[in-house]
């Protein structure tokens, strides 16, 4: 139904599809199909529904939680060939694309008109918009602009029974419950998206960025609290600790001042507003004890600051043979407390832990350093990573802020949700997928796989090729 060249069954061909950007979880699918139209996707899902075969939709494989991990004996539906931009409607600020279009391609298409697509996950050069919908992707600027769910207005999707349907609407206030809001972020477990309508935004008139260096992480934390208390919502607020700064310096030489903590604050909006509020932010940084405040003088300077920040993940490879990327969230005011616990954990375990995080929304990305050639260290790193999630949950936070639960963290779900909560999630899932064929084994814990522990970070091929960096 999709043509012979769109069906892969040779083991060597299937290899590429065994995992996403979480390479320690691998499964071999029975077959990979590469449909080129929504009708072909529908035909494949219908067949799966008829014969009871599990299927997993896959975008460009950049997910960090194993959300696109194949099911043994199942079908992988790659949406890479559904990669057309279907409509650009500037007057109504809407763009319609197929799911295989990359996140950045949308901005590329509308940039000449002075517009952009706001969610900016760090993999935006290569990640697909269909994957963004599945994961409700965020990025560095979601403090002010929100996540994918705030920018998608309508999708066309194939439901697990094989029906093709529109969910959401280009027009506001569609009557009825917000099924689109449920679908976005459901990690590919409720439907296969075949078309996405997103809202684009007018480029802000001005962007201004500063970098402030601090002797202690708590002083930087105070600065963030004071900025927020002053009624300012920055476009981005990022923090890096000493180990992350050292790694970034070694990798891309951003000339960060040597310090314990670096705070990056970016404001955007109308020029007068940014000018006025930026002066307040600068004053707050100085008042809270910043040893250096560096204001980006031009776009090149701004990009250099961001390069240092964005390189921090990959740069850990310069200071440690292996490392593990964690993704957890704490209420912003609990950041100092949780970072203190992580520091103590690092000392206790003997493993270095670098911290790079979205300080504005409390989204932590601890980078746990270890050496897999030392017996037991990989296992220790896994335990440490799990322990950090416990700290996040105990502080009233979440086990994932943007990477998703996927296959990786489903066994941590009971730490956040009660048995009743998880049952309700399953009930909702069964309502749309009664045969349990649509990306099974993800999001919700399955007793069968209990005890499986999330694994370490390994460089993804797209990162190795220099195509993407991580936050």
């Amino acid at each position: 139904m999709c043509g012979a060249s769109a069906v892969l069954t040779e083991p060597v061909q299937l290899l590429t599809y065994e995992c996403d950007a979480l390479p320690h979880l691998r499964e071999s699918p029975a077959i990979v199909v590469l449909p080129a139209s929504a009708a072909q996707v529908q035909a494949v899902v219908r067949l799966c529904a008829r014969d009871g075969v599990p299927f997993v939709a896959r975008g460009h494989g950049t997910g960090l939680s194993g959300g696109a991990l194949p099911v043994p004996g199942g079908v992988v539906i790659s949406l890479a060939r559904l990669n057309r931009v279907l409509d650009i409607d500037i007057p109504n600020r809407l763009v319609t694309v197929e799911p295989g279009v990359t996140n950045l391609e949308i901005t590329r298409q509308v940039a000449p008109f002075g517009y952009y697509y706001a969610p900016d996950p760090s993999s935006q050069q290569v990640c697909s918009i269909g994957g963004n919908v599945a994961e409700n992707s965020g990025g560095a600027h979601c403090l002010k602009y929100g996540f994918t769910v705030h920018h998608v207005v309508e999708v066309e999707a194939v439901l697990p029974d094989g029906s093709l349907t529109r969910i959401g609407s280009r027009l506001a206030d569609e009557p009825g419950p917000d099924v689109l809001g449920l679908l976005v972020g459901s990690e590919g477990t409720l439907a296969v998206v075949t078309k996405v309508v997103v809202r684009i935004l007018r480029r802000p008139e001005t962007v201004q960025t500063l970098l402030a260096a601090y002797d202690t992480i708590s002083a930087a934390g105070t600065a963030v609290s004071e900025i927020i208390a002053a009624g300012i919502i920055p476009a981005a607020v990022e923090m890096m600790d000493a180990l992350a700064i050292k790694a970034a310096e070694a990798a891309v030489h951003p000339n960060f001042p040597p310090s314990d903590t670096i705070l990056i604050v970016e404001l955007d909006g109308p020029a007068t507003e940014v000018r006025e509020l930026f002066a307040m932010v600068e004053a707050i940084c100085r008042r809270t004890g910043a040893t250096t405040v560096e204001v980006a003088a031009d776009e090149a300077h701004r990009l250099r600051i961001w390069k240092g920040r964005k390189a921090a993940f990959a740069a850990m490879g310069r200071v440690s043979p292996n490392y593990y990327v964690q993704d957890g969230v704490v209420p912003r005011t609990k950041l100092p407390e949780v970072l203190g616990r992580i520091r103590a954990l690092s000392e206790r375990s003997g493993l270095g832990i670098g911290n790079v995080f979205h300080a504005g929304d409390g989204n932590l990305h601890p980078l746990i350093c270890y050496d897999e050639s030392v017996p037991g260290q990989a296992e220790l790193a896994e335990q440490v990573a799990g322990e950090i999630l416990t700290y996040c949950v105990e502080a009233g936070g979440s086990i994932t802020g943007e990477h998703g639960v996927g296959a990786d963290k489903k066994d941590y779900m009971p730490r956040m949700f009660s048995e009743h909560d998880l049952d309700a999630f399953q009930q909702v899932r069964d309502a749309l997928d009664p045969q349990r064929l649509c990306n099974p084994g993800k999001v919700l814990p399955t007793p069968r796989l209990c005890g499986e522990v999330p694994g370490p970070y390994r460089e993804h091929p797209v990162e190795r090729a220099g195509l993407a960096e991580r936050f």
């Binding site: 994961e135 449920l182 972020g185 480029r203 109308p270 005011t333 409390g362 979440s398 963290k409 009743h420």
Partner: protein, 405 residues
Amino acid sequence: MAVVPQGRSGTPGEAIDGLTPRLVAEPASGDACAAVLAAAAANSLSTVVRGGGTKSGWGRPIDAVDLVVSTRSLADLLVHRDGDLTVTVGAGVPLARLNTRLSARGQWLPVDSAFAGATIGGVLATNDSGPLRHRFGTPRDLLIGITLALTDGRVIKAGGTVVKNVAGYDLGKLVTGSYGALAAIVDATFKLLPLPHASATLRAVYADPEPLAADAAAIAGGQLEPLAFDVRAGDTPEGPRWTLLARFASSPAAVASQIEAARALVHGETTALREGLETRAWSEQTGLVWEGDGAVVRCSWLPARLGEVLAMVRAMRADCGVTFTGRAGTGSGLLRLTGPDAAVGAAVVRARHDASPVGHVVLLRGSRELRSQVDVWGTAPSAPAAALKRALDPTGILNAGRGPL
């Protein structure tokens, strides 16, 4: 009376669509609420969840209500984490009361309902919103966590108390706009915003709609960032007037410069409104269509079609009295139509024609007769929405068939 825990007889003040419920329960906790729903399901009681009762006449006309579950006693919870810019609040807390509390700490939940008594639960269930949605979206965009009581007697949570979180299904969004047809909302957690430092509104008044639509497009296509961006059509002693309102809220200098920049773009007769005058203008704008008699119809359009929508509004004036307020940036508006039911009903049907510039035409307020003659929602639930309804309310006790689910 013992059919539901703590059930008592209903009173006329608790009527739903003019019908006094046989029973009323006022559970004071999530568990108590779930127990009431479980009893209602076991006894197949037609059940309506009621907050402030400000929209209890909306929806398809109904024949009977067995049980009203009032959220009045779910009104004590209010946990404001001001440092984190979040709040957890009981479903029965009125939105206005919440915002009074938050403002003491310089924060707000930027949702503006037209109804003074609207509760948090009701605002979510109806996805109520006002002019502030231009910047902040509708309640679903600010919701980060929810507690629900289900008809099987369980209390469940989804989301959490942090602003960034992708663990589990977002059931909070699912119940937004469900009109109480899936579950009862027990409490909700929102992200908050700091109150703006300064605010001012530019009002531009036009004798004709065409230049207004052109000016609205010019503002929308530029780099001004209004907090609210509204349009209005109504009668004045001098005849029909068309009004554009753009509110700017930011630092004082930024507000002043944006007001001037907006003034340079528009061609109507302009006034800059500040402080008391500004507050009054927006409360008038929000309440306008709800005051006085008449049916109220909601409709939506693609923002670039504003000119056609205003032309439609002008044409409607041939058959009924028309007052119109809308969100110029998001393409959402309300029409108050006065006149005989037949004329109003015909106007609704015409607005649903394929050639009409508006869609999602919903008759929100109307007499029982009008709501019997005209399909209130104009649409049937989608297949996934219907499947979710069957899963979460298998006995079909919730919402008494008022719709949309």
